[in-house]
Amino acid sequence: MIGILQKKYQKETINMFSLSKHGRVICSPTPPASCSEFHEIHEWPVRSSEDKEEIIGRVERLIEGGDTSHEFLRQRAALMADEMLENALYCAPRDTHGRQIYAKGEKRSLSPGEEIVLRCAFDGEKLFLEVSDSWGRLSPETVQGYIAINLAHNTSADRAGRGLFFMWKFMKDFYVNFAPGLKTSVGGYLLLNPDSYEYGAI
C-alpha cells in the first residue's frame, strides 16, 4: 500500500498552496516560485542538526556584496534558512500520536530513510530558497492556523508557528507543497531590493 502511494505521489504533486497577504490559503497546481529560471542551483542535504550552521553559512556566502542591500539580504536569508531547517529537523518529525519527537536545540542525526534538503539559487537580484523534508506534515489548515495566531497582535512568548509566520512575512511567493506522510517542501524568494509594502514591519 505504501509503495503504491509513494508511486502515486512521486508522479503528481498534491496540496500545493501559497498564502495571500491576509494569510488565506491559495491552492495552486504549480509552485508560485521555482528555481528553474536560475543557471546554477545549489542543493545541500542535511544529515544532522550539526550541519545547520554550515549550510546557513553557505547560503550567506552566495550573496556577495558589501553594501547595505546585500547585508540585509544575507540577514534575511540566514533567518529564513534557520527557520526552515529548524522546522524540518524538529517540527516535522512526529510520532503516531502527532507529538513532536525531538526538542528544539537537541542534537540529532537523521533517521534511516529520513531526508532533509535545502535548495537555493541566487541571480544577483533574487534568492530562491526551499527546504524539503520527508515527513509530509504541513497541511494548509495547520499553516493557516499558525499565520492567524501570529497575526493577532499580542506578545505571547510561547507561540507555535512563529517561524512559519516569519517565512510568510519575509518571502515573496511563499509556498508549501506537501504529499501527506511523504514530503513537505517550503520555499519562496527573497529580493535584494524588496518593496517596503511586502514587509509589514517597515
Binding site: 553559512g57 540585509f72 540577514q75 534575511r76 533567518l79 534557520d82 528544539k104 517561524g163
Partner: protein, 105 residues
C-alpha cells in the same frame, strides 16, 4: 561561522546594561535563566550590537525574559543596537511594545 552565545552585564550607577553576543536561539536558553538574578537596577538596557541572528526560539526567550523582568522586578527595559532585521522582528512580535528603543543621546 556560528558565534558562541554569551551575556555580559555592566552595572552602571543608574542602569544595568545587558550585552548579548552571538546568535539567540534555543541554545541560549540556559543563559536567560540566570539573567533575573544578575539585574539589580530598575532601568535596564538590552544591547544587541554584538548579536547575529535571532530566530523564533530566540524571540520567545526574549519575550519571556522581558516579561519576567518587568513583572517580577518592576524593571523598565529599553533596547539598543539592533540590526535591521532584528529591529523588524522586534516590531513584528511586539518586543518593542514591551521594551522600546533606547533614546539616543
Amino acid at each position: 561561522m556560528e558565534q558562541k552565545f554569551k551575556i555580559e552585564i555592566k552595572n552602571g550607577s543608574t542602569s544595568d546594561t545587558v550585552h548579548f553576543h552571538g546568535n539567540i536561539d534555543s541554545h541560549a536558553d540556559s543563559h536567560f535563566e540566570e539573567l533575573g538574578r544578575k539585574i539589580s537596577k530598575k532601568m535596564v538596557v538590552f544591547d544587541f550590537s554584538s548579536v547575529g541572528r535571532i530566530n523564533s526560539m530566540g524571540i520567545a526567550l526574549l519575550l519571556r525574559s522581558i516579561k519576567s523582568l518587568k513583572t517580577e522586578q518592576d524593571a523598565q527595559i529599553s533596547i539598543q543596537g539592533a540590526n535591521q532585521i532584528n529591529a523588524m522582528l522586534f516590531k513584528m512580535t511586539g518586543i518593542y511594545l514591551l521594551a522600546p528603543e533606547a533614546k539616543r543621546l
